[in-house]
Amino acid sequence: MLKLQNVSTCYGKIQALDDVTVEVKKGEIVSLIGANGAGKSTLLMTVCGDPRLASGSIEYMGEDISRKKTSEIMRSGIAIVPEGRRVFSRLTVEENLHMGGFFTEPSEFDKTLKHVYELFPRLKERQSQRSGTMSGGEQQMLAIGRAMMSRPKLLFLDEPSLGLAPLIIKQIFDIIEHLRDEGMTIFLVEQNANQALRLADRGYVLENGRIVLQDTGEALLTNENVRKAYLGG
């Protein structure tokens, strides 16, 4: 579904991604783990077209999207739950969801909204509350719900566990799994390697802008080096 081939990205003179090749197949959860500053978020953003890649190619549904505008890419069935949630804090929950469905067909809109409320009953309860006044977990649910509103085929999640309590993290990961079971393809970027790999069909390890390991989620969980570096021995 998504294929990055030999992608390099630079911020000025600093190379953030170096010859990265990653593939996400339809219906999979693929996890990308790595330390702070390894280039995980940069990888996601490069797919979204900002920053532009310096070399290589990005193929989505058999089409090269590496030269497309961000707004076009984000309307072509890819949605991202950005790092740090980034909900529109002074807008209500429902208004946030409306923004998510900005380009959704009006005929599909109500159905999608209902589906999101079914996934997150908590959001339904709080639909007219300002999103900035909700807890971190609820905001994360809203950020996922907002991304779902565009009816994506491929969902990027950038550190959905950031700053959340373990119990909430479990809920969030349950929902991610549920989304996969509904047929969504998911590309998950996480520092929380344990949870992310347990969920993943396949995983990649990014270090200093390079992919150093790739395998099934299970195999990575038991891999000696990964255990040492990311799972605390």
């Binding site: 707004s71 991202i80 980034r86 529109f88 409306h98 923004m99 309860e125 007219s128």
Partner: protein
């Protein structure tokens, strides 16, 4: 009650005050022969300075008890009146609005000419405030050159009227379109800037328009401005004493009334009311459309907007262009009302006042803006007696506002969370 820190603070504050005021108020430059000499002022002002220093010292010394009393007094102040929730009751809302509008339209027949004139000016500022609110309050783009679009609107009408004899009614939409066009042209290159940088560029743009109008003497009359701009007519009926050449008819003759200058003033006032109502209607419509929500979303988080496939530049551009259009409408009405415009009407202070209206009213809140526009135009009029202390009072008011209600008079409301039993 009196502590050591208060004492030190008092000494420092008093010394600072002495140094500053002694230089600013205590000495005077005087001519002596061909040169200037520094002289001490007479005893009176020196005594005043000393008294001031003592007051400052005492205030710092007893700061805690004083602030405590003020805090208690603040708690005792009545809370802002809570408006009944009209959203729940659309019938009541419509009824109230109809009554309000009727009152607004009947009022001028009982009021003095000066009061009507002031009300008309206030309405112009309301229109400007509502327009700028789209840009600053909703889309979150700090525009310090809004007066530039106001000037474009005013000059569009003045020039079209004096060169081609076009009527106000034809020029009103043209003025709006022209201002919108200028908003678009300016917005295109600058809207990739953010925050302070955008503010600086728009500030410059406002000045460029004014200076251009000042220097294009042949077209705009430069600093002399354009005078004898035609007043608006009622379906061709003029409000003058005598018919102009080629005019269709006179208002007072048509209705068989004795001539009075008040008719014109009332007509302009009613026109302004209708323009404001139209502005409110259009903006409320826009707010309910996805574009209105997109403006607000953009103010909240640009990156999140991009992640949803929105193009921030396009959204900003619509806000900028539509905001400018309302300034154009207001400008053409202003030119028609004044009958005379010059670049001096469009200085930076005007932008600052309009921005103050938006901030004072509570960013994004339309009712707040109407209230703030009234405060900002009527208060200076009422305080005319205080003359040069007027601006001082004004500043003081703003400072108190920031302490008392930092979100503005009537901040934009959203339904609060509804607790539901689970």
């Amino acid at each position: 009650m009196i502590n050591k820190q208060g004492f030190t603070n008092g000494i420092i504050a008093a010394v600072v005050l002495l140094i500053l005021s002694a230089l600013l108020m205590g000495v005077q430059l005087a001519n002596e022969g061909t040169g200037l000499v520094v002289k001490l002022k007479h005893a009176e002002s020196l005594t005043l300075i000393a008294v001031g220093a003592v007051i400052v010292f005492l205030f710092q010394l007893f700061r805690q008890p004083i602030m405590g009393t003020i805090g208690m007094a603040k708690g005792a102040l009545p809370a802002m009146p809570v408006l009944p929730d009209l959203k729940q009751n659309p019938k009541l809302k419509n009824l109230l609005m109809a009554f309000g509008l009727a009152a607004l339209l009947i009022w001028p027949f009982t009021a003095s000419r000066g009061a009507i004139d002031l009300a008309t000016l206030t309405l112009i500022y309301i229109m400007l405030g509502l327009g700028l609110n789209i840009v600053v309050g909703l889309a979150g783009l700090l525009d310090l050159g809004y007066v530039g679009f106001y000037a474009v609107g005013a000059y569009t009408y003045a020039l079209l009227s004096s060169y081609f004899g076009l009527s106000f009614w034809v020029c009103l939409p043209i003025a709006g379109l022209m201002a919108a066009f200028f908003g678009f042209i300016l917005g295109f290159p600058v809207l990739r800037l953010r925050g302070d940088y955008l503010a600086i560029v728009t500030l410059g743009f406002g000045e460029i328009i004014r200076i251009m109008l000042n220097n294009m003497t042949e077209l705009t009359g430069g600093p002399n401005g354009i005078s004898q701009i035609a007043k608006p007519t009622l379906f061709g009926l003029e409000f003058n004493r005598k018919l102009k050449e080629g005019g269709d008819g006179l208002f007072h003759e048509f209705f068989g009334l004795a001539y009075s200058g008040t008719y014109k003033v009332i007509f302009l006032y009613i026109l302004a009311v209708l323009l404001v109502v139209l502005t409110l209607f259009v903006i409320n419509r826009l707010l309910r459309m996805p574009i209105g929500r997109a403006w607000e979303a953009l103010r909240e988080d640009e990156i999140a907007c991009r992640s949803l496939g929105l193009n921030p530049t396009v959204i900003k551009l619509t806000a900028f262009t539509i905001g400018a259009a309302f300034a154009g409408f207001a400008g053409s009405f202003f030119a028609a009302r004044q009958g005379f415009i010059s670049p001096e009407s469009f200085i930076f202070i005007e932008s600052a006042i309009i921005l103050a209206i938006v901030v004072l009213g509570g960013m994004g809140s339309q009712l707040g803006i109407i209230l703030a526009a009234i405060v900002m135009t009527v208060l200076p009029e009422l305080a005319r007696e205080f003359q040069e202390y007027r601006m001082l009072m004004f500043g003081l008011l703003m400072v108190f506002m920031m302490i008392w209600r930092p979100q503005g008079l009537l901040p934009m409301k959203r339904p609060h969370m509804e607790m539901r039993s689970q």
